[in-house]
């Protein structure tokens, strides 16, 4: 995976440069639209018009926090499979520990930026001044709130480019050349080196009696299968989902249960739907790669409806299947 992150002052032309870089390198451009689209696919809706601009302004920030986490997971997941040009979103921090990544900051003089904004958005000078200041303040706030770093700390970046006297396309060419010089000697050979592999390959227990459930809900589910006399195995198999360019497995998935009589794998999730998108993604990926394998996700709601009568109390009893 190749990573170029571009942070920019508002009106510096960073967006145009990022687009040029993505076009010329064939890297995938990750901007706020890519992210919103990607998260929507996983059923995560944007909480606010633009979190980068809004973050920290709202008192109720719990969901924002989750949304930010989802953004980060999404970017890391994308990076496993793709080369990326990441515009904004704290990319330089997200990939700070990944040596081949090139972190670029695009700047321009304030007056130059105001002129560009006036022209681009057809604004009066006072409005443009206000807008530029506001946008910079929002970016700064985003970095402080989300990463606890100072956005204006230029040590976060490998390359600083001013567009005062430079065409955007030339700036893009400089970025691309800098990336080649910077990244090639630092290519990571043994895995992604960054991003989290949530579920590593699990070695199945040799003896079924020795099953160590990872989660109480899994134990409960096993009891229920026992009750209905349905044979099961706990995490008997690991499916590989992602490989790096060297063929090393970087992502794997071990469904919780296998029901041999049904020839069915079952994954339980007791996470809320908003957090379950990662598992959904894994299951989708598994279905792509192993179309002949039956796998089913039992979500929080389904699981609660299975166990409610038993696990809460008698008042919660329900007689659905009676």
């Amino acid at each position: 995976m190749g990573i170029i992150t571009i942070s920019r002052e508002f009106g510096s032309g960073g967006e145009n440069i990022a687009r040029f870089v993505a076009e010329k390198t064939g890297f995938l451009l990750v901007n706020k639209d890519t992210i919103a689209r990607g998260l929507t696919q996983y059923g995560i809706e944007k909480p606010l018009p633009d979190p980068e601009n809004q973050i920290g302004k709202e008192q109720d920030s719990h969901f924002e926090q989750q949304y930010i986490e989802a953004i980060h997971d999404f970017i890391y997941d994308l990076a496993i499979r793709n080369n990326l040009v990441i515009l904004g979103r704290g990319g330089s921090i997200l990939f700070r520990d990944y040596p081949p990544a090139l972190h670029v900051r695009i700047i321009a003089q304030f007056t130059r930026r105001v002129q560009r904004v006036m022209k681009a958005y057809n604004l009066a000078s006072e409005t443009a001044v206000k807008l530029v200041k506001e946008q910079d303040r929002d970016k700064s706030r985003y970095y402080r709130q989300v990463f606890d770093v100072n956005w204006n700390n230029l040590r976060l970046y490998d390359l600083l480019l001013s567009t005062d006297k430079m065409e955007f396309e030339d700036a893009a060419d400089l970025v691309i050349n800098a990336y080649r010089i910077h990244a090639e000697p630092r290519e990571v050979k043994d895995g992604p080196g960054v991003g989290e592999i949530e579920e590593r390959a699990v070695i199945p227990p040799a003896d079924a009696e020795a099953d160590q459930f990872m989660h109480p809900s899994e134990e409960e589910f096993a009891h229920m299968l026992d009750f209905y006399r349905i044979r099961w195995q706990y995490e008997p198999r690991t499916f590989f989902l992602e490989w790096d360019s060297e063929g090393n497995v970087v992502e794997a998935f071990s469904p919780d249960f296998y029901l041999p009589d049904q020839d069915l794998f079952i994954e339980l999730t007791t996470q809320k739907p908003r957090q379950a998108w990662k598992k959904n993604r894994k299951i989708r990926r598994m279905k792509e790669l192993y179309p002949h394998i039956n796998v089913r996700l039992i979500d929080k709601r389904g699981f609660e409806s299975l166990l409610k009568k038993h696990s809460i109390d008698q008042d919660e009893k329900e007689g659905e299947e009676s």
Partner: protein, 182 residues
């Protein structure tokens, strides 16, 4: 669509009206009668959710049949988590060599129905099929063959027309989505 009722009315959202239910059951009654014409049909109601459905279904049928009931224990109703499913009320009729139709109010996980099917199969009926008024495919864990079904519904909790919450709401003439009180 809301309807006033003596219960916590704001927790119920009507899914199927009495008219819709009756129409569907008439269709099912006709189809089943046609399929089982000239055979020895035993209809088995699974207690307790299927009772209203079974009675109304049989009244829409135009062939002879026998009725029986069966009941099994549920995982959710047991005191501890070490038991196994068992039949709490067995059939009175001998089904060997007969054409058996299991009648359910709702099929969701398929766990209890799967057990019933396995159990009844050992008694060597001539045929063994399932009819359910409601089918919740999204909750299925065990694949069970459902030959006749009234309505497919999403992964929601429903009451009425024989289906209960804490033994309540069975006598509603419609089927409604029920939101549990927090």
């Amino acid at each position: 669509m809301r309807e006033k009722m003596p219960y916590e009315e704001d927790q119920l959202k009507i899914l199927f009206t009495p008219e819709q239910i009756e129409e569907k059951i008439s269709e099912l009654g006709k189809i089943i009668s046609d399929h089982y014409a000239g055979r020895e049909l035993i209809m088995i109601g699974v207690l307790r959710g299927s009772t209203y459905f079974l009675i109304d279904l049989t009244r829409k049928m135009h062939i002879p049949f026998a009725i029986d009931f069966i009941s099994i224990s549920h995982y959710s109703e047991q005191a501890d988590s070490t038991g196994v499913v068992r039949i709490t009320k067995d059939l009175d009729l001998n089904i060997t060599g007969k054409d058996v139709l299991i009648v359910e109010g709702i099929v969701d996980t398929g766990l209890s129905l799967g057990y019933l099917l396995r159990n009844l199969k050992t008694r060597n009926p001539a045929s063994l099929k399932v009819c359910t008024l409601l089918n919740v495919e999204a909750r299925r864990i065990v694949d069970v063959p459902v030959e006749y079904k009234g309505f497919d519904i999403a992964n929601i909790f429903v009451v009425g027309y024989g289906l209960d919450y804490n033994e309540r709401y069975r006598n509603l003439q419609f089927i409604a989505e029920f939101n549990r009180p927090k």
